[in-house]
Structures are given as structure tokens and as C-alpha cells.
Symmetry: C2
Amino acid sequence: MTTNRQFRLARRPQGIVQRSDFDYVAEPLRDPVEGEVLIQVLYVSLDPAMRGWMNASTDSYMPPVAIGEVMRAIAVGRVVASRLAGFAVGDHVSGLLGVQAYAYSDGQRLSKVNPALAPLPLYLGALGMPGLTAYFGLLDVGQPKEGETVVVSGAAGAVGMLVGQIARIKGARVVGIAGGADKCRYLVEELGFDAAIDYKHEDVAAALKRHAPQGVDVYFDNVGGDILDAVLLRLAHGARVVICGAISQYNNMSAVQGPANYLQLLVKRATMKGVMVADYYPRALEAVMAMGGWIRAGQLKTREDVVAGLDTFPETFQKLFTGANNGKLVLQVAG
Amino acid sequence: MTTNRQFRLARRPQGIVQRSDFDYVAEPLRDPVEGEVLIQVLYVSLDPAMRGWMNASTDSYMPPVAIGEVMRAIAVGRVVASRLAGFAVGDHVSGLLGVQAYAYSDGQRLSKVNPALAPLPLYLGALGMPGLTAYFGLLDVGQPKEGETVVVSGAAGAVGMLVGQIARIKGARVVGIAGGADKCRYLVEELGFDAAIDYKHEDVAAALKRHAPQGVDVYFDNVGGDILDAVLLRLAHGARVVICGAISQYNNMSAVQGPANYLQLLVKRATMKGVMVADYYPRALEAVMAMGGWIRAGQLKTREDVVAGLDTFPETFQKLFTGANNGKLVLQVAG
């Protein structure tokens, strides 16, 4: 047998994550015990939520990763040894396998995935957690109606690009907010967004006025901070604000910047509500069937940014926060 | 005929309202023209929302009071001359009569009130705008269920004291947040709140943990700022946050302090929604009948803080922001 390699959390990061926040260790592999399966990790999903899991906060929806523990991450892999009924060597699986080359599992929250139906990274994107987040966050929480204007931030990211396309499929006008001319061009020309706002080079408030002259009916927020405040000032009557994340705030050393314009909820009779993807796991099949159908029909495009090399984890993870990633960021651990 | 006295907005207040922000002028009265009614103002309602109407902001639910215009306010009065069908001399009416001794009206948004059924100041409180705000904000937006924990801030104010009592009537546990031991004692001993937190002398976060050990199911927020942030950290799963106002922020010279802990909406699958009383005017009768019934049955207590003298307006208005008022603040203009 070979050796495992693992990123273990060494300390709580202050601000931007550093390589020194982790111990990158080698561990001898053992055979799985009865009721256990050994999985070779192939692709690790890198998600903004992981930054929150590194903090000591007790107010989150999941316990923090303990110091010394393997960094938590969703991943897909292949079963290489099994003493667990229902899982055979060669099966492909998805689950919270962690940032490591091999993982043991008792089968809890482990799902089989089929590489013949879709490339494996897709199970970490449109057919995985980001897909469910986009689908249910938009349709169940945001509830866009035909002809309404939907604005999504982090629009070129894993969740945002799906949100915008689903909104289009449902007949809404879609405005994406992203960083940089290339991403904005991609949203409009490749994904069919009605408009895109480059927050790095445009005045977001002025651009919103131009692109959403009737106001914003649904705002799907992945970023928080100043962009959330700008959109709050442009809400239409009865708007729905879907809080999915706040990537602009995750590396803050001080407190989160709360939305100063939240009283617009009152002025505009608007609702602000969070979407927590775990609540929708029981309905996962509905989303995966819809998304899969749209992908096959060519109505929904996906884009994965696959970076090779487990050892690049700390630096590759940063791409999420600098905006250097194009689409769903995935770490390729093995082929 | 006599002379009118009016508070006209002289300039946009910076921070705390000053007497010098108004011109206190005398105007000769004229006879009403055809289709008009002349009303002697008896009681003027002093409400936190008036502070917002003094600002130039274009993002509010009502146009600002123009410079030179009589300060906008809800009031009750008595018709002293009428050339408007349906309104006779001696009728008592309620409407946006302004901070002045006499008002002309074309009958728009003017309602008759009956002094034989309830004291006139009550039509500015429990049977008026604050009553509708409390009733619909709590029941329609907050939707407390029996046995749930409802927390209300500004709990000894015009709206808050009603919110807490209605929540009790509906079978909820009620915790009020107010400033000072006297107000807190009043909430528990006189109004039957289950607990009260004195934010001026207690650690609100610690007190919430003690008084809402299972978390807060409904939070009715009148104050914003640090107290909103403290309650957000104690929300129960599926909580509803009703945004009614943010009196702690209305005199800010700089930006409003947004709720830094708003991501708890996501963690706790909670909803934040505004209540705008004007939306409920078509259903006013429902609230007034319910509130009137509870008052007659002794289940709902009201408290009006009546200050005599139109000329005291700028100073009396300050009581709302220093917390010096006890219950619904009303300016008595005439007997």
C-alpha cells in the first residue's frame, strides 16, 4: 500500500489563508476495518464556505474544523478497498472526503456518482452542492417570475453562473455582477445573461440603474459588503433578497460589514432570507434531474476550473477570494 | 377668526433635531373654500418616522417634507368649518394634519373618530398607526405560534408595548428590551411580559441567553444597531425578524450601522422582512376591532404620554430618542 497525504489545520487563519495555517503531512495507509471503505480522492471541491469552517466561531451551521483535523472538503473519489456492503472497488463516490489523497468512510453521506453520465468534476459543480444551492436558492427562496429582473453577484462563480442561467431558463431578465471585463463578456456572450456589471471597473449603483431600470425583483447575493448595499438601494417593491454567502467578508480580520441599507427591506416591502443547501438534500434528485436535463439540452453551460496537484491547495484556494478562478474551482488530486 | 400657528421645516436637521431647524410661524386663518374643511388640531402624534421625513433622502417610502412646508404629522382634531360633504362642524377626525394649530383638508385620508368610544389620544396609539403597525407587523409578518418566544425592542414605546401584549394574547412567551429599570418593571408587572431586559444596564447578549434559552422565534425590531445584532446571534431555527424601525440610527450623522450578524439569517434559516403600515390600511378595521375588543376586555393596556403645548414640539419630539417618553408620545394642542 501507499502513503496518504493530508492537509491538516494547524491554526486558525487570520485573514487570508496561508500555507503555514496547515500541516501537510504523510500518513501510512491501513486496510479498512469492517464497515469501512477506503477511497482514493480524485477531485476536491474548493468552496468559499470552507473559509468559515476554519474559524473558531460557534455561530455557524457546522462545527469548525478542529486544530489537527484534516481540512474538511467535499470531494469525489474511487473506492480502492471496501469492507462496507453496497460499495465495491471501482465505485465512484462523492462526500465530505477532505483535502487529502485517500479517505476512509463508514458510508455516511457518501453518494455514488456515475462517470459515464457526466465528467467527475461536474458532480462537484452543477450536479453537486453548488448546483443544489443555485437551483433551490433561486427557485425556492428567490421565486423569480417570468419577466422579472434577477441580479446575481459572484456571477461568474460556481453558484452564480448557474443562478443566472436558471433564471434565464425561467424567463427572467438576468444581470450578473462579476470582476473583470473577461468574466462579464463570458456571462453575456457565452451564458446569455442580459447584462453584466464589472464591479472592478464600473460604478455598480449607476450600472444597476441602467440595467435594472424597473428595480431588482430578486437579488441572489454571494458577496455581501458594498455590492449588497448597492443592490438594496435598487430593490423593486416586494423584492426577495437571497443570502447565499458573503465572500467579500470571509477574510475580514474585524467584524463583518453589515448591510447599512437594510432598512430598504421596509421601504420596498422586501424580504431577506438565507439559503442553506443542506436543507434541500432530501430534494436533491429534483434539482439534479432538472440541471442534467438542461445540460443535455444545451440550455445550461458549466465551466470547471480544474487545478492539478493536491500540494497546491493553500494557494489554489486563494483563487476564490482574488476572483482568479473561472467557474467551479476544483483541485485535481489524481487522474 | 383666529390665527394659526405652525412649525415649518426651516432646514434639514443634522443629527439631533434642534428648535432652529423649524420656523414657528403665525398665519392668518381663512374660511375653507368649496370642498374643504377647517380642522382645529387637538392632539399631534409624535412618531420616530417623522425624523426620516425631515431628511432629503429619496430612498424613503414617502417624499421628504419640503423646506418651508408645515412639518408632517398624524393628528386628531375637530371640524370647525366645513364646505365638504360628509364632514360637519363638531366632527372629530384623524389624518395627516401636521404640527400646527389648525389644518385645512380636502377629505383625502381623513377618517372620522368617535370620542365617545375612546379617548382621542388612543386614536393616535393603539387604535391608530402604532396599533396597526404592531398588530399586522407581529401577526402578519412575524406570525408567532403558541409557545414560541417573541422578543421586542423599544418595548415600552408606542408600538413595542402593543406588540408584546398581542404576542402574550396569542400564547407566546414575550421578552421586552427597554431602557431603564422603571420601564422594565412596567413591562413585567403591568403589561405581563414574561421578562424584560434593561439594555442600559444589562449585557443584552447574556440576558437573551438567559431569557430565551431556546432561541428567539420572532424578533420585532424597533431600534436597529447593536441590539439587532445581539438578537440575530440568538435566533432560533426558522426565526422571523420583523424590521419596523431603527430608532437608534435615525439621528446618525454618518451611515446607518447595518446588522453585522445578518449572515445568521443563513445559519438559522431565518427571514428578515419589513413591515410598512400603509400596506395594511385597507385591513385597518380588522385590527381596530381586535384591539378595541382586547382593550375593553382588559387584556390590552395602553399608555399615552401626553405633553401639553404646541410650542414645545421640538423639545418634546426629542423624548422619543432619549427614551424619556412613557408609552405613546402625544402633543396636546388644544383641549
